[in-house]
Structure formats: C-alpha cells, structure tokens
Symmetry: C2
Subunit: 196 residues, 2 copies
C-alpha cells in the first residue's frame, strides 16, 4: 500500500441515488448539499464517495443523526448507519469534511464538560478508549486541535456518530449538546480520525 | 493517554447478561464459551468486556455472524452488531482473540482468491481501502502475518465483520468461504487491527 497521501486541496466528489443499489435518479456533487429535496429526491438511498471525506445528515440543513462517508460504496442505508436502534432511514443533507494529514491530527478529550477534569491527548485511532487507559464510558468535552474526528457511542466505532472538526465551533465542543442535534448522552467509547 | 500497552499474557475477562442494560442473569468468563445455552441463557443481550479482546458469534460453536468485542460496555445488541440488514438479534458463543502489539500487526491483502493478483501490505487501520489506493470494493484473499484484524463490508468498519487471526487457519484465508460461515461476498471496504 502506498504511504498515506499528504493533505492537499484535493477534489471532493460524491454521487447519490434515490434508490438502493445505485438505481433510480442520480446526482453528483462536489460541494455541500443543504437539502436533497431541492434536486427532487425524497431521500438518498445509495452513495458512492469518489474523493474526499463527507458527512451526511438525517435532516436538511446538516441536522440530526450524522454519518461519516469516506471513499467507497454504500449500496443502502445500512452501509452508512451505525445505530440500528434508531431506524429512521433518511439522509437529506451532506457536506465535505476537511481532514488533516493523518499524522498531524490532534485532539484532547476531557472527563467533564467545559474542558474540566482528567484529560487525554489523542493522535491516533482508538476502537476502545477503555483499552487505552480511559477508565470511563463517557467523555465530557473535546478540543480538536487539528483534523476531523468521529466519536462513537460504543467500542469499535458503533452506535451514534459525532463528527468533530477543528474548523467548526473553533474546535471546542464543551457539552454533548454541541456534538450534534441528535446527541442525548455523554457516552463515547471509540474515537478515530476521518480518512480522506 | 499512556503509550499503547505492550502485548503480554494478559487476562481476558467478559461479563454477559441475558437481558439488555446489564439486567437479568449475569455470568463471567475468562475463557471461551461454545454455547450460552449451557449456562441457561437463551442468548446474550448485554456485555461488558473488562479485559482482552473477544469475538462473539451468532450461533453456538463459533458459527454465524461475527462481532468484535473490545473493552467497554455494550448495553444491547445494537451496540455490537454492524449490519442492520441482518436483524437476527442473537449472540450464542464467544472466545478471546489473540492480538499482537499494535505496531507489530501485519497482513497482506490480495485482489483475487488463492493469493493471486495485485496485493497490498497493511500494518495500520484503513477506514477506507479505496482512500488508500486500493481501487476495488473487494478483497479476494488474505494472509495474516501477525495479530488479529477485523475486515468489514463497508467503509468506516460497517456491515458484516470478519475476524482474521494469524493463529487461526495458519493465517491464510484464500476465499470468502473461509472468512466466516456468514460470508457471501468478496466485498471488503475497511480493515483494522483489533485492540486489546
């Protein structure tokens, strides 16, 4: 495998279909889409990410559940969703995510909200925070110094996903209310960098 | 965060419950369980992994769908399952997985079955094989040189999971039939090391 490519102003390109299995109406985007309703789709049902990394949202205007979309093929909702308990099969808006060079990505996690309590410095992927010495199944707040990260409710990057970026929110996420409009708990057990 | 711990003959410990939310009957294991029916459980419905890494299976005898279980808390089936399309909520057997030191883990992937075609050398985590230069949404065969890995159908470690280990099968997996009894396709779009 080649070395991980260095971050550059690379193209972002995503193709979406309104039916599963890359069937039905098709549309390409190279920039954000605040609502697929504007192109006549009820919802997105299959996706191919051709370059860059993206995040999809349940609702228009980048609200609701979040779904990380890295390069590859997603033939149905099951392929990008991580939380089977919340079975509303809808993806209505999406936008690119600005990733850093993998080696440069940095984040600090805090035990409590408002950047208080014990902290941990992350510069790698953690399928299990507890396996790495974080004696807790929660994170109170985050400071993203560089790059884009996805934090998940359960180990192995499963459950609700929250995309945290250094160029959003000034990189500061002080309470779960700021992680996404679908967040209802401090429960975070895995964290990794988003790959573009 | 402390440096990743070096691999040693560490304890493996898992606690399982027969109800969600860590309710109902409870049982601890430090070694494999070929069938929870033998302890009077119909199925496992919540799990806490206290040390080591484990793999759970849909059926007794380590057959069927596979679920990677790293340290942390899984309050319900949704927390460990990755493929929402296959909604049979059952986990009936489980065993420890022997992980290597993260830095020592190595695997070769091949475009075709029987270790033929183009190949790639992996020693890291790949949430998107295509983002790393693998121009394909499939892998034909694997050779695991060191460590334990989980390969997934879709990017971001979603969809069906296949646990591949260097100390099983001599590390050689020449066709999807050998990845697990639930495998029906060569589709693999993300691969990572299992963390203990």
């Amino acid at each position: 495998m080649p070395d991980r490519p260095h971050h550059s102003a690379s193209l972002t390109q995503i193709v979406v279909w309104d039916q599963e299995g890359f069937q039905g109406r098709r549309h390409e985007f190279t920039a954000e889409c605040p609502s697929v309703l504007e192109i006549g789709f009820e919802t997105v049902r299959s996706i191919k990410v051709q370059s860059g990394a993206w995040v999809g949202f349940e609702h228009a205007g980048f609200q609701g559940q979040q779904f990380v979309l890295e390069r590859g093929e997603y033939p149905s909702w099951e392929a990008w969703s991580g939380n089977v308990a919340y079975h509303v099969e809808r993806l209505t808006s999406f936008r690119p995510v600005a990733c850093a060079n993998h080696r440069d990505s940095r984040m600090t996690i805090f035990e409590q909200e408002n950047f208080l309590g014990r902290k941990g410095e992350l510069s790698d992927d953690y399928p299990s925070l507890q396996a790495m010495g974080w004696d807790n199944n929660e994170v109170g707040s985050f400071r993203v110094h560089c790059g884009a990260w996805v934090c998940s409710q359960f180990p192995g990057y499963r459950g609700y996903q929250y995309v945290l970026e250094c160029d959003h929110h000034s990189g500061d996420y002080k309470h779960f209310r700021e992680w996404g409009s679908h967040a209802q708990t401090f429960q975070i057990q895995s964290i990794r960098r988003i790959q573009q």
